[in-house]
Amino acid sequence: MSTLSVHDHGVAHHEEGHEHHHDTFLTKYVFSQDHKMIAKQFLITGITMAVIAMLLSILFRIQLAYPDKAFPLLETLLGRFAPEGRLDPEFYLSLVTIHGTIMVFFVLTAGLSGTFSNLLIPLQVGARDMASPFINMLSYWFFLTACVIMLSSFFIQKGPAGPGWTIYPPLSALPTAMKGSGLGMTLWLISMVCFVASSLMGGINYVSTVLNMRTKGMDLWKMPLTIWAFFLTAILGVLSFPVLVAGVVLLIFDRSFGTSFYLSDIVVNGQVMPFEGGSPILFQHLFWFLGHPEVYIVIMPAMGISSEVMSVNSRKPIFGYHAMVYSLIGITVLSFIVWGHHMFITGMNPFLGGVFMITTLIIAVPSAVKTFNWLATLWRGNIRFTPAMLFAIGMVSFFISGGLTGIFLGNAALDINLHDTYFVVAHFHLVMGSAAIFGMLAGVYHWFPKMFGKMMDEKLGYLHFWLTFIGAYLVFFPMHFMGLDGVPRRYYAFTEFASMQRWLSVNMFITWAAIMSACAQVAFLYNFIHSIFWGKKATQNPWQANTLEWTTPVEHIHGNWPGEIPSVYRWPYDYSKPGAEEDYILQTTPLSQTMSSNLPHDFEDNPAGLEALNTWTSTQKANEQVK
């Protein structure tokens, strides 16, 4: 019923589209309501923010490697934030904070989900556009506003927010506690409210599009894993982001209106403050109730993209499609009940710590299943090393390396000594930082032909991959050992501790590895921009993939398909099916056209089809016997 009505809607929309083809620059590139254009807007904004956040990280890496050295150039570039060529300690904390905020929210949430959910949901489920194109446009503009506000905090007197991306009060609530808790913090909070509004509008759109606007034949079990991942990610976001807003609003109250939600018993510089009865732990609960689902919001789209890319380029169906979907669902549900593992030693009731430890280690099971399924997908495949494939593989490698250290940190007893050390930094940069960004880059290389109608250069892609992959391991692997030596994160310099000075040489090594990786991104940026304008023209289905987006024309049109929306007859992973002519069969190919490759499994809830298959095979056999 619903598919039918949506179908009609789609046709109507399409006819409308024919009537006005006179897009102005403003309606086409700026206030676009077309999901493909909005996806590009998200991607380019996301990449810009990623480059900025990466440069910030290089700045503080330089500080960590050379704490005693002055770089007059820094004063020229940063002014009062780097007096006499040395970073100000408070500005260092601001850099760390803004690097984290931008990377987690603006790059890996909006840049990743925003780009690929927008691009792929309508194209892969077979819809003309999003459920609400207008809200979709608003979602981008709220996101851009949030970006601008966040970056504007670099241009105010006291500098950007500095209490870490987790903005724990009272540090973030007391403007006297540090410079970064002044106006910069206010801008951070405003920016984040805009961001959450954007992410909610996006999320609601993605969920409703997936649920209501699938084309004929596209039942949930025929959706590609990318769509499953985006769908579940959107649900996670819709349910958890409002909690962050609640936390942020209460913090705004504490900061500006004298309430005491998070504040109690505070004496700053010998001055007794009037706050009583609040609890800083309350903020941590509210923050991590979003914060933990957030890391899955970051990693699940990367998982979906990698699954799809690995299946296409191994020329093999993804192994255990159902298990992959169930593990995604498992992760989605469990991610809501593990937030306390960020708070084992904060003074939360130790019994709760024990409970959260159990739920946390349970979530490792679906993650392990996914990893093994990816490995099984590669097994006996016919692997084509496109840059997208390499990045998807890199994602798996990082996910393993970083995921395993999660077993240490999820264990409350071990967390006592590892909490807030470089071990944690290494863990999350591998498992959600590097893995997610590699998933995103895999997506960019894979769907670039769909987005821009051009191909990216493969060799530059190879160069980009290997430098980044090796660089990321060189940066984050040694950090584990620093953490095991009890070196805390967010330290401006290790110079004050005799015991930490021996890590200085390691820090220098890490910084140079980071600089190398940063330089490698120039290869990507050049490739990306150059290919948009001067790249080789893409063919309709350059990777010989099965999914619906490759049935649309290379030139973008409103409504995606020139005629009727194609119907779907099979799951998206019929690669290298025995008996088939090609090593891929599009989802739009009916089973009746591929009699030689059909399997009994294809007709699980279709007795008539199964009968037809049986008659066909028996006649085939009879024919052979006659011969």
Binding site: P72, E75, P163, P170, L171, L174, A177, V267, V268, G270, V272, G277, S279, P280, P317, F319, G320, I345, T346, G347, P350, G354, M357, L361, L375, W379, R380, G381, N382, I383, F385, I393, S401, L404, I407, F408, N411, A412, A413, L414, I416, N417, H419, D420, E458, Y462, W466, I470, D485, P488, R490, Y492, E496, R502, C519, A523, Y575, S576, D583, H601
Partner: protein, 410 residues
């Protein structure tokens, strides 16, 4: 005609191929040499200049040097790329297969695996030996045992999965003679690799849960002497200590009493407070149970004593504590780590402001005799100055105590 042109083109490309790399590499080498020489000269000049100038300006030569180096690198990458392209095209024109990127990538994957594993092993041996020495507390030994078990299990998984990943990549790299094996699922093996991690994790969870409960257990065991209570209060950017006097009990505190010399807000109406002592170093008797009562005045701090496997956040408005028993004296540890200057440290491990990176306190574990001698030398909080100050403030204090309220936190 067209055919001839292609052949000509091929020949041209061939000549290109033979000349281009040589010429370019020579030129590149020359450039490189010039830049390196120039650069080192410039850098030398900079170090010389900084010694006489009070405030060094930006050395634009040095900046330019690095920028040029990067451009040179980018250009050489472009040149190498062009050479590869030309080679590839010329091979194709001659009817041979071009560069087999799938094979090259497969081989690099294998190389990465081998070099990566060697690198990981190197890190484990070299940097692994730079990590914390053995635990200096009772519960720390259990944590270390758990850590070792977890490390062994995860490292086995790490090695196996990474080897499978990269070996599969090499082994099943693309070949046009082969088709992939159509294997959509296999329920048995999927069940196996769901159940095995589940079982292993259950074991880890059970051990972890009981270790955690034991570490966090707050009740003093009956019959054993009560633990030594020490208050530690964090503020920007230092720690304050408070030991109990001869009565063995710490007096009450109220943050509203913080003023002047009474920087911890000790309530001197409570007579247990009268003999409370202040100290600069956290001195602990070995093999005695210590209960650290943890407070914060302004923002969240974290008491981190990695050698004892102790960490607990200090939260304003939410008093917390950590109970532990040190087992190795500072002297013994100095011998063990072969460093005569070794000190146990307590430092802040929760971002707390500009000097977060330097908020430390020396911890010294001594024998009981030394501890008793030391504590006898410590001065009480109630200094004569504070005594006079408080006489004046007596009325205020009374008022605030009647208003005393229950902690509403958690």
């Amino acid at each position: 005609m067209a055919f001839k042109q292609i052949i000509n083109g091929g020949a041209l490309l061939n000549t290109f191929k033979s000349k281009l790399p040589l010429k370019n590499s020579k030129k590149l080498l020359a450039f490189l040499a010039v830049f390196v020489l120039l650069g080192t000269n410039v850098l030398m000049a900079q170090t010389a200049a900084t010694t006489d100038a009070a405030k060094p300006g930006v050395n634009w030569f040095s900046v330019g040097y690095y920028v040029l180096m990067f451009i040179l690198l980018a250009v050489s990458v472009a040149v190498v790329g062009k050479i590869i392209k030309v080679y590839d095209l010329s091979q194709q024109i001659q009817g041979k297969k071009g560069v087999q990127w799938n094979n090259i990538m497969g081989i690099i994957c294998l190389i990465f695996l081998v070099v990566g594993m060697i690198g990981a092993y190197w890190e484990f041996t070299v940097q692994g030996s730079m990590t914390l020495p053995e635990a200096a507390s009772k519960h720390g030994i259990k944590i270390d045992a758990m850590f070792l078990t977890t490390t062994i299990i995860t490292m086995i998984v790490f090695v196996i999965t990474q080897i499978l990943l990269f070996v599969f990549l090499f082994r099943y790299r693309y070949s046009d003679k082969r088709r992939a094996y159509f294997l959509p699922h296999n329920n048995t093996i999927e069940k196996v690799w769901t159940i095995i991690p589940a079982v292993v994790l259950t074991i880890l969870v059970i051990f972890g849960f009981f270790t955690w409960q034991e570490v966090e257990n707050s009740a003093d065991v009956k019959g054993q002497p009560a633990s030594i209570n020490i208050d530690i209060t964090g503020h920007q950017f230092a720690w304050e200590l408070r030991y109990s006097g001869p009565d063995g009990i710490l007096g009450k505190k109220d943050f509203r009493l913080t003023a002047g010399a009474n920087k911890l807000g000790i309530d001197f109406k409570d007579k247990n407070s009268m003999d409370d002592l202040q100290a600069d170093t956290l001195v602990l008797p070995v093999n005695k149970t210590i209960r650290l009562n943890i407070f914060a005045q302004d923002v969240i701090h974290s008491v981190y004593m990695p050698h004892f496997r102790v960490q607990q956040n200090a939260v304003p408005g939410l008093p917390t504590f950590f109970k532990f028993t040190p087992t190795i004296t500072t002297e013994e540890m100095r011998r063990k780590v072969e460093d005569p200057k070794f000190e146990y440290l307590l430092y802040c491990n929760k971002i707390c402001g500009s000097s977060h990176y330097n908020m430390q306190k020396v911890v010294r574990v001594v024998t009981e005799g030394e501890y008793n001698q030391w504590i006898a030398r410590q001065k009480p909080y109630l200094t004569p100055a504070l005594r006079t100050e408080l006489k004046l403030a007596a009325a205020d204090q009374k008022k605030s105590i009647t208003q005393n309220r229950l902690a509403l936190n958690n």
